[in-house]
Structures are given as C-alpha cells and as structure tokens.
C-alpha cells in the first residue's frame, strides 16, 4: 500500500517567533543568531536573503552584506515554547508524527484518505496552526519523507504542495541536485564536476556510477533522486548522548578559565543526567585550537551521574588532551553510552553529606532553574548550560543550518 507522508516546516521559525513577540519587526530585514564576533546567523528573514545572506554564515559577514538588517540574539527557551505549541496542535490531529527538529515535523497520514482526504485534512491542519499560533508554516504531501521534504522546500514560503502518486520522478526531475536532502556543498561540488545539474540527470544514470563516485551515499542519493525512500516516521527520539560546547569570543590560553568552563559544563550535564534518571559510561572532552585543528579524547568509566566522579575525570582528560600550547578556540564535553538508572552509592567514597548536598541542590535546581546553584569554581562561566530537559523524547534544538 502507498503511504501518505506529510512534512511540515515552520518558515524562518526563529524570525517568525521574534516577529510574533515584536510586531514592529514585520517586513523588516531580520537576523537571529550570535551577536559576538564569532556569532553565526541561525535564521534570517526572506528580506535579507536577496543580499546573499543565509543561515550558518558569520554574523559579521551578514551585517556587511545587509547593513540595514536588525540583529537579534534570540532565546532558545522561547523558541522551544512556541515549537511545543505547534507540536501540541499536530499531536492532537494526526495519528503518528515525528518531530525531527525544532521546526520540522513528519506525519504519517496513511489510510486517512478514506475518511477525510489527506490533502484537505493537511490544509486544514496548516490553517489551524497558522490561526492558533500565528506562525507561518508550509507543508509538502507525498508518498515518502524525502519527496515531502523537497515539496515543502519548493512550496515555501508559507504555502503548501501536494505531489500526486506516481508523479514523484517528474516533480524532482527539473530541480537542482542541491535540493536533495543530503547533498551539501561538498557533494554538490563533486556532482557538478561530473557535469550534473538537474536531478533528471541522476534519474537517468545507472546506480553503479553514483556508487562508484560517492560510495554508499551514492546509492542513497540516487534512490532519493528517484523519489524512493522507505524510512518510517519515528514518533520518539531517544537520546544516545548529551553534550555541550563553547566557542570563545576570543581564543584563550587561560587554563583556569577553561577548567572553570569544563566544571560548569560537567556540572550542568551531570544534573541533566540525574534529572532524566540516566547514567553515563563514556565521557569525551573536545578541544579546538585556534588553527581549527580539533582533537577529542574519550574515556570509559563505570556507570555514574555524580559530579564528584565526573569532574575530576573530565579535568584529567582535558589535561592530557591540551598539550599544544596554542590558543584554544573551543572546548566541549559529551556524555555517551547512556542508560536509564540512578547513581549506585559507594560504601567508602560517598559520604552522606555529599549525597544530601546533591539531593538538595537538585531540588533547588528543579524549582528555581538549572543555574540557581552552581559550584563557585564554575561561576566564571555563567552562561553554560541549557534550559530544557534533553530526555523528553524530543530532538535536540539544532541551529537551522546544522540540520542535515
């Protein structure tokens, strides 16, 4: 049986939310993203795109290209809240959906034709979202995720598109190969060098050629170009790891500050673990020097979620990793090999005071927010940390340009 897959995408989501909060920003060029020298554009309004601005570009460059644009720092918490509002509406109306990022949803409408007419139903859903949240949204409707996604991108901004069954190939044929999800700058260049421009050409090619050029990915891209994609709509996203990282405004060799940041990061992530009733068995420290060389080192440990075990281990890893006497551009940590469970208390190493302290600190954090109590040594890095629970089954909030 043919499936009916709906792809919904909130147009310039961060920008739309900002405009919702402050109506004065409507129809004005708007940039959302980091405002510091190292900041990048997370989202940009359609007005700025004419100047060559796109998400992922350094904020500095964007401002040069479009000096009249208004730049806003943005607030991930607000965006998640609006995203949740949209999720609520979708959840109410469709039998099965997947939230694939903060502003994108897939819904499986297979079988609903018999009762409603999928296209009519999807249109009504879209109108409802626009009416209830005030956010512009576009959708694409077709037989699978890939074609629906491409259709949404074609429909944008604030529109909808249905690809009738059997017309997937002709729909894709005239489009640029860049439109295939998975084809980024690199692959695009490789394919352009082969003389490919339109998806049509890929459709006409034998699959072996693609495989020879791009390996396994070649086959996937060829399939996608032909409108073939069997990936299911997955309703729950399980976190396999949690991580955090920080790029500095200015490269640094201040080891005391770096340690402070690492402690703050570890403390925050360890709290996320405890809140989500998770334990980690693998910790990783990542470091990027000013020459953009990135190194990371990981360590297997017994399952734990306790600060006093994780912090010394992280610092030790960092000490062995940081050996180049170069300015540091970025540090980050990651906890992986996560399992559900609580911390197993140790007879000899854990005192009752420290356990009660954790308990009390976690209680305060739950009530007054993540950063209401922190270690003094981590005070220097007050902006580290996230607002939301990473274990709520939702995908991580990714900046728009990092989606693929």
């Amino acid at each position: 049986m043919n499936k009916t897959i709906l792809h919904l995408d909130l147009d310039t989501f961060f920008v739309s939310v900002e405009r919702l909060i402050n109506t004065a920003l409507k129809n004005k060029p708007l940039l959302v993203g980091g405002l510091s020298d190292r900041g990048v554009v997370a989202a940009c309004s359609y007005e700025t795109r004419g100047f060559g601005v796109h998400s992922g570009m350094p904020m500095k460059m964007a401002k040069e290209l479009c000096p009249e644009a208004i730049a806003i720092k943005g607030n991930a918490g607000t965006y998640s809240k609006h995203s949740d509002d949209v999720t609520e509406i979708i959840k109410e109306h469709v039998p099965l959906f997947e939230k694939s990022s903060i502003d994108e949803f897939y819904a499986d409408l297979t079988g609903m034709d018999r009762f409603f007419g999928s296209y009519k139903y999807a249109s009504e859903l879209r109108q409802r979202i626009i009416k209830e949240t005030g956010l512009p949204i576009s959708f694409g409707l077709s037989v699978n995720k890939v074609v629906s996604k491409v259709a949404t991108n074609e429909a944008k901004p604030n529109n909808q598109l249905k690809i009738d069954y059997g017309f997937e190939k002709p729909f894709l044929a005239p489009l640029s190969i860049k439109k295939i999800p998975m084809v980024g700058d690199k692959t695009y260049q490789t394919l352009r060098n082969l003389g490919l421009r339109q998806i049509r050409t890929i459709q006409e090619m034998p699959v072996d050629v693609m495989q020879r050029v791009l390996g396994k990915n070649g086959t996937v891209i060829w399939k996608r170009a032909n409108g073939v994609d069997n990936t299911p709509v997955i309703p729950f996203c399980e976190r396999k790891s949690i991580s955090t990282e920080r790029t500095f405004d200015k490269d640094t060799i201040d080891v005391v500050m770096l340690n402070g940041i690492l402690i703050a990061m570890t403390e925050n992530l360890a709290y996320q673990l405890r809140r989500g009733e998770k334990l980690t068995a693998c910790i990783t420290v990542k470091i990027r020097y000013s020459d953009f060389n990135t190194y990371s080192k990981q360590l297997r440990i017994p399952y734990t979620s306790a600060d006093h075990i994780l912090i010394p281990k992280i610092l030790e890893l960092f000490k062995t990793l940081y050996n180049r006497r170069l300015l540091v551009r970025l540090v980050g940590i990651r906890f992986s090999h996560l399992v559900s469970g609580n911390y197993q208390i140790n007879l000899f190493d854990d005192t009752e005071e420290i356990l009660n302290l954790y308990h009390a600190m976690d209680y305060i954090r739950k009530r007054y927010g993540d950063k209401s109590v922190i270690r003094a040594s981590a005070m220097g890095a007050r902006t580290i940390g996230r607002m939301h629970n990473p274990f709520n089954g939702q995908p991580p909030i990714v900046l728009a340009h990092r989606k693929q």
């Binding site: 809140r275 399992v339 559900s340 208390i345 140790n346 000899f348």
Partner: protein, 372 residues
Amino acid sequence: MKFIVSSTYLLKQLQVLGGVINNSNTLPILDNFLFDLKQDKLTVSASDLETTMSSVLDVDSDNEGTIAVPARLLLETLKTFPEQPLTFVVEDNNTVEISSNHGKYALAYADGAEFPKAVELANPSETTILGDILASAINKTIFAAGNDDLRPVMSGVFFQFSPENLTFVATDAHKLVKYQRNDVSASQVAEFIMPKKPLTLLKGILAGSESDVLIEYNDSNAKFTFDNTELICRLIDGKYPNYEAVIPKENPNKLTISRNQFLSSVRRVSIFSNKTTHQIRLKIAGAELNISAEDMDYSNKAEERLTCSYQGDDMQIGFNSRFLTEMLNNLNADEVSLEMSLPNRAGILTPVDGLDEGENVTMLVMPVMLNN
C-alpha cells in the same frame, strides 16, 4: 627415576592441582606439574607464581628425582584411563615414558630445577580451623569481593583473626559481607587480605571436609596445610578499608520477611528492570512491601506486593537487584531481616534463623539514589 601409581588416584590429585595453572602463562615452565620423587613419596606441585599448591602422593618407587611434566597433556591422557597401575620411567632423551595396560606414551619433560620454588614463610603465626568452616566462610564472602584492578585490596577477602573470634570480610564498595565465627579463635591478632583465586581453590577442595586446616601467615604470604596438600599464596598488599565505620549503627526501620518469597519476587521483578542497571524499587508501608521495576527503553514494567512484618517509617529505597539476589541466594535462612535507616544509607541484611552455633553473618547493600 621410576615410579608406579594408580591412574585414578593420580588423576584425582592432579585435577585439584590443575586449578592453579593459568590458561596462558608468561613463563612456559608454569604449564607443567613439578614431580618431586623421594622414595615412595611423590610431591606434585603446580604454580602461577602467586599461588603454589602441592600434594604428596604415595607411590611405589625407590628412586629420587625432579621433573616438570606438561600439565594439559598429562591430564588429558589420565582422564581416558580406567583404574589401573601406571609406570612412569624417565628416559635419558628428556622424555618420560608412561606404560599402561594398553601401551606406551612418551612426554617431553623439562628440568625440575627450572620450576620456581615456593616461598618459605619466615617466622609465621599460625591458627587451626576445621576445613568445612573455612570453606563456608569463603563461600559466604567471596561473591561480594570486587573485580576492580584499580582497587586491588577489594578484590580479595579480608581475614581478621583475634583470640575472641575469626572474621572474614569481602566488599566491592557496593555490597559488603562480614562473616564471623565466635567458636574458633586464633592465638594472636592478625589481619591479611587473601586473593580470590586460592580461595576459590580452597573452597572447592575443603567443602564438607572434616579435617583440620593449619593456616600459617606472615606479612606477605599465607600457607594452608591440610591432609596431604599444601597451598602457599602471596597476600594482597595494602590497607583494607575501614569497613566497621560504614556499617550504620542505628537502623530504626526493620523489615522481616521470608527469604524465599523475597528472593523469588525480586528475581521476577528484576526481569523487567533495565538490562544494564538492574534497578528495582522497594516501597514499604505498614505491613506491605511493594517491589517494582521499570525499563523505560522497552516499556517493560513490573510490580509485586508482599506482606511482611515491618517496624519503622514508610520508606522508598532503590537497589541493584543483582546485589539483592546474590545475597539472598547466599543465605540459607527461612527468614531474613533488612534493616534500613535512610534511602541513601546502606541496608543491612541478616538471617533470622538457620545459623550454626557461633556463626554470625552481616550483609550490607548500598542503595541507588532515587529522584524524590
């Protein structure tokens, strides 16, 4: 060098000694048994450098000599023989020839002098204990010892001898067992940490044994002598953690329950717990014990209710079910009691009945931190 020995008698002794030999040895000579013949006494030894065990066998001979015979080859051969006398003759060309009723077999041997000598204990202290008591002391404690290479002291069993009693303790920092015998004592106070491997061997040999075991020890080695066998091993060097300090003294909440019922419930419920962390939750209120587990990843969930006798405040406590089942399995009481104070302090599991005269068992299990 020549001797005659019964095949099954030899096999029985060699199989016990074979437990000492590691599967892969850095020193090739350690893959051998050392045969030391003195007239009609044959001393067979096996060693892994840490532990050396030897047995004296009665054989028919009037020769002397020492040779090292490949252990695996000899054991495999002996296993196949029915009861019969075997003649071992050492030939000139570095082989030892075994003659049976069926035929002849030649094994290359190494020079006995290459075999590492067992250490001699310098001015040891000593104590005597019944084999079966030692075996059950090992049996009751060894499962709680840890496997962490980073903390070697916890990978052994702590022997604490005093003129009043003998105490055996094992812990891996999450669970702890203290086994005390008040009916046996030592001449003076002594403490040492025995590694697991020789204890496992002793446990196997001594179970049900009625003979006395002479334990000699000094700072670095211990020697166990019984029947015709002798086991010398190196002790684990280091200071054993102060376990007495971590046993909570005041435990106002006391649960008494049938061991079998508790064990089978914990076992059943733990099937539904997370496959890595094995966590279960005990909720006690009034005379009801509620055991539950949940595996979020697969949406598996279980809950059981048991009646118990309970004195104390209502409480909720989380445990690793592995620890509980291991401990409950190791006891042979009909009723057990679990004493607790707070959800983040150790629970103390003790048998209510089924103990021998002078026997005392205390088991400690650390909970997991629960979120509430």
